[in-house]
């Protein structure tokens, strides 16, 4: 019961802040709402018993990435014209299409997990280690080693690319 209440309250907060992120007129306010959103997501992870993921969510997203967002937003001093807030236009269509795609994906996952409900849970139970952190680590370095390494390579390439682009011609 308590878990359900927590879930619905947090879900409402997440959605509410998400709406505020896209509707706030001041980009810095948007970023602040995004941080609050991420904190709520972290709280949701805690209710699911995934403390490790929650802590990482706060550390990496709220404490790291969004700080950089804020940095950029403050530096480039975005002043959007009032027209940008009116409905319509190519961006709105694109946004709707993306939202639709995500919705379809979520529905597909829901249907698929309904069809084979026990699969993910059993995977965790068969792990040779207990504890939240240990399990995440075990899975990352065994079953998902290749995706993990690919992702880190991708990040490395992106980092090098960013440095090349940002470096001034000397």
């Amino acid at each position: 019961m308590a878990e359900a209440i927590a879930f619905y309250v947090l879900a409402a907060c997440i959605l509410g802040f998400a709406v505020l992120v896209v509707t706030a007129k001041n980009p810095v306010h948007s970023v602040v709402f995004l941080v609050l959103d991420f904190l709520c997501v972290a709280a949701l992870y805690v209710t699911l018993g995934a403390e490790f993921v929650a802590a990482i969510q706060v550390l990496v997203y709220a404490g790291g990435i969004v700080v950089l967002y804020l940095f950029v937003v403050m530096l480039v001093n975005v002043k959007r014209p009032p027209e940008a807030f009116r409905a319509g236009g190519r961006h709105a269509t694109l946004g709707l299409a993306l939202a639709g795609a995500v919705l379809v994906e979520a529905a597909a996952i829901a249907v698929w997990s309904r069809l084979s409900p026990a699969a993910p849970a059993s995977a965790a139970q068969t792990l040779p280690v207990s504890g939240n952190t240990e399990q995440v680590g075990w899975l990352l370095y065994t079953s998902y080693l290749v995706p993990f390494e690919v992702a880190s390579m991708l990040l490395l390439v992106a980092m090098v690319g960013a440095i090349v682009l940002a470096r001034k011609e000397s």
Binding site: H29, V32, E51, I56, A62, G63, L70, M74
Partner: protein, 340 residues
């Protein structure tokens, strides 16, 4: 009900009050120690030897006019000091001040909670504290605070990496992320991690200075350069929140360093039998003593050293501390695997 609600609630109240009291007296201690270092007396007027100075300061700050600059982003301007203070206080939830005491027939642990990702919790909560500084700089609508907040965000993110890497080496030694677990593993291994991880200890201390914006890394609030830095436009209680947050963070860093590297509440040389008479001093006293030594170091460094320049600070962080921390981490991993 008593176990579940009342005792944690009492603990929270005690810890919060003790922290805030400690923070205010930390300010006095700093003023006194620096004064002595500079052959002065420090505050002497309020109470004997100025011991009531923090009370007077608190009264002054509360009664001062709270000014919001005309073109400030009022909403964010109000939020920023809160965002700065709250993380500094929330961290105390997982700091183990001592082991367990028997009080009124109950066994009471001297920490609010012990979660299995305690160390990660500390790191992630403190990482949110940077928002207070950035948003303060942005919302003041003033150029000096803006410069300061840019400095602060770059500095805090950079040094967070080095600090987190040193923490990982400690976790490799202890095999747990729980703060209590780290102390008990130091007890079972019979050595403080400061001795087997000296490099991590030093990097953590330097990074801790930078994370709390203390000299010689106090660039975000360098008075002589940025006229006070990110809190230039703040006054009254809102300024006090920033001020308290800085000192609260200092205590956090000292406590975490004590827990991770100096054996927390353990007495010195916990495995040496003939020193067991030291055990009559309760654990929390040892903890406070060790934290105090750390805090004293903070003050001492401030009284002694000039300030780094921004580029030198970044160079030190990225080109010295982070590579050293990574090397230390890899070495720790290799030794650990080789010994296993």
């Amino acid at each position: 009900m008593v176990e579940l609600v009342l005792i944690p609630l009492l603990k929270i109240i005690v810890v919060l009050n003790a922290t805030l009291l400690g923070v205010t007296y930390m300010v006095l201690l700093e003023r006194k120690v620096i004064a002595w270092a500079q052959s002065r007396l420090g505050p002497m007027r309020v109470g004997p030897y100025g011991v009531l100075q923090p009370v007077a300061d608190a009264m002054k700050l509360m009664l001062k006019e709270d000014i919001t600059p005309a073109r400030a982003d009022k909403w964010v301007f109000t939020l920023a000091p809160i965002l700065s203070m709250v993380p500094a206080l929330v961290v105390y939830a997982v700091i183990p001040f001592g082991d367990e005491v028997h009080l009124f027939g109950r066994r009471i642990s001297l920490y609010i909670t012990d979660i299995n990702v305690g160390l990660l919790y500390v790191v992630s909560v403190t990482s949110v504290g940077v928002y207070g500084i950035i948003l303060a700089g942005y919302s003041s609508n003033s150029k000096w605070p803006l410069l300061a907040s840019l400095r602060a965000s770059a500095q805090l993110i950079s040094y967070e990496i080095a600090i987190t890497l040193t923490l990982v080496s400690v976790v490799l030694m202890s095999g747990t992320l729980s703060m209590v677990g780290i102390v008990t593993s130091q007890a079972s291994q019979g050595v403080w991690y400061a001795f087997i991880q000296p490099m991590a200890f030093v990097i953590f201390f330097i990074g801790g200075l930078a994370e709390t914006n203390r000299a010689p890394f106090d660039l975000p609030e360098a008075e002589q350069e940025l006229t006070g830095g990110f809190h230039t436009e703040y006054s009254g209680m809102r300024f006090a929140l920033f001020f308290l947050a800085e000192y609260a963070n200092m205590i956090v860093v000292s406590s975490v360093a004590t827990t991770l590297f100096l054996g927390g509440w353990l007495r010195p040389f916990p495995n040496v039998e003939f020193l067991s008479f030291l055990g009559i001093v309760p654990g929390w006293c040892w903890f406070l003593l060790k934290s105090f030594i750390f805090l004293y170091l903070f003050i001492w460094v401030r009284a002694t050293l000039p300030r780094y320049r921004y580029d030198q600070l970044m160079r030190l962080g990225w080109k010295v501390l982070i590579p050293l921390a990574i090397a230390n981490l890899i070495l720790t991993a290799i030794v650990k695997v080789a010994l296993a």
